[in-house]
């Protein structure tokens, strides 16, 4: 009750302000005195924000579940870090090797390969790299698998000799005593798995200067044992690669002269003995594992595919390949993707055309029938949607095969001889028939909704002005139904281009699409890079056609209703 007068005051003061505004010649002011334009903008911005907030869940959903995974998948078509990540030393060393010659790389590269492979097999990454490179050169897969198993023994020559020299070198505890800081050693003493995460290994000051190779190798070993194996590093005996690194340090450049930390005596003794050690020839050792390591093709493949990003997958996807001499066509008996892309396009166009031919009259009838009958027929059109795709496709198999319903009927009618039955399946005919049926509703529905909006009076007007039935249809009705054809065609064509289940079942060998190969590479050969490249090309082709359509017909001319 007591509020009422106040409200009145407020509204009357607002009224005064408006009157004042009207008398004013300056910018229009809102009730609170800010310029109206600004106030309006603010209100609109608020409205826009609210609208954005409303669509935000959908936008985020689409971004997270659709756009991001597709982008991630497509990105795989150029990604190639696996080679340089798994073989960092080898790929660096290979940079100086002349891949166009016939000589295999020298001993330093093999030594780098030994180290890389050693770490890779400990982390079980060498076989993964083998499968990757096997896509480019047959046989690399087993080469890496085999070598990974045997590379562990290669450095044992040094390990044995060092251990024979002094039992000190045998245990991890002794190694840790001079590799790790005192603080770390103290914190690890008495550590048990139950205590939780073990303190991270810290390299002792000065050891990296004294034994650069060994320190680097030991650090990698420590990191792996602690983080991947989750074993107690304090008690873990070092890998063979650490012994071979120590040998390199002992016989090569080192800072042992000024080293006076723990184990200095043992190191000095080892340094004195090392020059007389039996050595390993890594190239010979690798050749012993598999003579393919002396095959220049293997090294060329590693070098050609060592960059972090590659266009190799895209080249494969267009029947080309990378080689040391640059880019070349694949041998003719391996060219497949060009044929499949072309076939996919041609057959998708054929399917779209047959959908128009069959769908147009149906949509016309639907649009011109009384609503009750039209709805009933519409249900028939939609019926296939409610049946599983596999069931529909399998049903076509029963219909189309040589001992199937259609052929049996034709034979019974005497139109076809029984030993000369029509081949309607496992070829292009089968794919076109089955896919036209499956995609037909996508043509009929937009056509129907566009035709419903065409006034029947226009046709009557045309006829009353003297047009024949055909002229009335062709000059008056058809042009108005084009937006429906456009929408239906785009839907059908884009769906057809990516189909693979139906072509796989009824297409035989001549009726399969590029998507069948994409599916094969994604799910069977695991060559996701190539699958992604094929997918990217397909996507680009669709966008290009869409663009062309927009230029020629105009995308404004597409109506879904």
């Amino acid at each position: 009750m007591s509020d009422a007068p106040k409200v009145q005051t407020a509204s009357s003061s607002a009224a005064e302000a408006r009157i004042a505004d009207a008398a004013h010649t300056g910018p229009m002011l809102a009730a609170d005195g800010t310029p109206l334009k600004k106030s309006l903008n603010r209100a609109l911005r608020l409205q826009k924000m609210r609208a954005l907030a409303l669509i935000a869940p959908l936008l985020i959903f689409v971004l997270v579940t659709f756009i991001a995974p597709i982008a991630d998948m497509l990105f795989r078509s150029v990604e190639n870090q696996i080679v340089s990540d798994t073989l960092p030393r080898t790929t660096t060393m290979l940079a100086e090797w002349d891949e166009t010659g016939t000589d295999i790389p020298g001993e330093p590269v093999f030594e780098a390969l030994y180290k890389d492979l050693f770490y890779a097999q400990e982390a079980k990454l060498h076989t993964r790299l083998g499968s990757r490179l096997n896509y480019e050169l047959t046989g690399v897969s087993s080469l890496f698998r085999k070598s990974g198993r045997k590379v562990e023994d290669m450095g044992e020559v040094y390990q044995d000799q060092l251990e024979d020299l002094d039992a000190f070198w045998k245990t991890g505890e002794n190694w840790n005593s001079f590799m790790a800081t005192d603080k770390w050693l103290a914190s690890m003493e008495g550590w048990k798995k139950a205590d939780g995460k073990q303190p991270a290994f810290v390299l002792r000051d000065g050891i990296a200067k004294a034994l650069p190779e060994t320190a680097a190798a030991y650090k990698q070993f420590a990191k792996y044992v602690q983080n991947v194996d989750e074993d107690n590093l304090y008690k873990e005996d070092p890998w063979a690669v650490i012994y071979s690194s120590l040998y390199i340090d002992l016989t090569g450049e080192n800072g042992l002269a000024s080293y006076n930390g723990p184990a200095a005596a043992e190191l000095a003794a080892a340094a004195a003995a090392a020059p007389a050690f039996e050595t390993v020839n890594y190239s010979e050792a690798f050749k012993k594992i598999d003579k393919d390591w002396y095959d220049v093709n293997v090294w060329q493949t590693i070098k050609v595919y060592s960059p972090k990003y590659t266009n190799g997958y895209f080249l494969n996807a267009i029947d080309m390949q990378k080689s040391v001499d640059g880019v070349e066509m694949r041998p003719e008996n391996q060219q497949i993707y060009g044929i499949l892309f072309w076939r996919t396009m041609v057959m998708s166009v054929a399917i779209t055309l047959s959908c128009i031919m069959l769908g147009y009259p149906v949509a016309w009838i639907l649009a011109n029938l009384p609503a009750r009958q039209a709805n009933l027929l519409l249900i028939l059109v939609l019926l296939p949607f409610w049946t599983s795709l596999l069931v529909r496709t399998s049903a076509w198999k029963v219909m189309l095969q040589q001992q199937g319903v259609i052929n049996d009927t034709l034979v019974w009618l005497g139109l076809v001889a029984t030993d000369d039955r029509l081949a309607l399946i496992n070829n292009q005919t089968g794919t076109i028939i089955a896919m036209t049926h499956i995609l037909l509703p996508f043509m009929i529905l937009p056509l129907y909704s566009v035709m419903q909006t065409i006034q029947p009076t226009y046709l009557r007007a045309a006829k009353s002005l003297g047009a024949t039935n055909w002229t009335a249809f062709w000059r008056v009705y058809f042009p108005q139904s084009i937006p429906g054809i456009g929408a239906g065609s785009i839907l059908v064509f884009i769906l057809a281009i990516g189909y693979y289940i139906t072509p796989e079942i009824v297409g035989g060998t001549s009726g399969t699409f590029i998507s069948n190969r994409i599916a094969y590479h994604i799910s069977s050969s695991l060559n996701w890079g190539l699958g992604a490249a094929l997918g990217a090309i397909l996507l680009a082709a669709v966008l290009l056609l869409y663009y062309a359509y927009d230029k020629i017909v105009g995308i404004d001319n597409v109506k879904l209703g």
């Binding site: 499968s131 897969s141 095969q401 001992q403 079942i505 799910s523 069977s524």
Partner: protein, 368 residues
Amino acid sequence: MNLTKTLMASTALTVAAGMSFAESHMANEMTIVSWGGAYSASQQNAYHTPYSEMTGVKIINDESSAEAVSKLRAMNEAGNVTWDVVDVVASDALRLCDEGLAMEIDPDEMLADAPDGTKASEDFGDLLVGDCFIPQIVYSTTVGYRTDLVGDTPPTDICAIFDTDAYPGKRSLEKRPIGNMEWALLCDGVAKDEIYDVLETAEGQQKALDKLATIKDDVIWWSAGADTPQLLADGEIIMGSTYNGRLFSLIVEQEQPVAMLWDAQVFDLDGWIIPTGLSDERKARAMDYIMFATDTQRLADQAKYISYGPARKSSAPLVGKHAELGIDMAPHMPTDPENAKNTFLYNYEFWADYRDDIDAKFQAWLVQ
């Protein structure tokens, strides 16, 4: 005296604690992935149901084995592996192992000994291919033919497939090079033990494709195991290759006029892998299940429900009668001596290397 008692008591306590530790540290729900259909049913009867009854574990069946390799890779990349035990063919197991997606196994430690004490590694023998694969069954890809459509002299050897004069009509072959290339070379006069040496060379591969080209127009290429049985039943083809278990159900259960040609059957293996990246509880459960499901009796039990041979040598004598039909299962096993006179064992190492290369050529040949 006192000391002994204390010792004994503490030992008993430790053992009890250890057992309860093991029990409480195993997940009580697991997802097992397999192929579906009759095969999953046979596993349900022989393994899952008894295991659930014994342990109270809830087993969830997933029928995704056909896409297991790609799905496992995707799960692994997403860091969320939801499968505990996966049934795959040996070549896929090899691939998963190479990719680091399957756990390495130590057969003697993780698998049960045979009843007579033979170590698992010896009981499974050569069938332990790769480092991650736990074999379960031996199946074969072999040829079935319509007895009423092949005339008076039914085929007896594999080369009938290539003999369109004696056996005119369509035949079906799998839409992949594996198996077909071997058969083509064999029927082109290459000695059996030289086939892979020949197939390593580009000329050898071309030779095989040329042989296949002689029947290219008469072949319907299948990609699903159910295709050939359907085509045979409908009389679309006169002969075709498929898995022996599919032919068994077509002949014995559906009583179709079909017979089997065991000649040059290609043995393949199917078995389990445990994915990497499982939590400790789930891994313990998966290993416990594997230990149970691959013991001698369990493998023999599976053969009651499906005509695939158990992978353990010690299971063979225990193979009995079909659970519903009551017929003796031994003569329907691909490993039965009568059937296994001339066989191939899928060469895993060879195909792991050559699969991509030969498949590219094979598919290009199909398309051109």
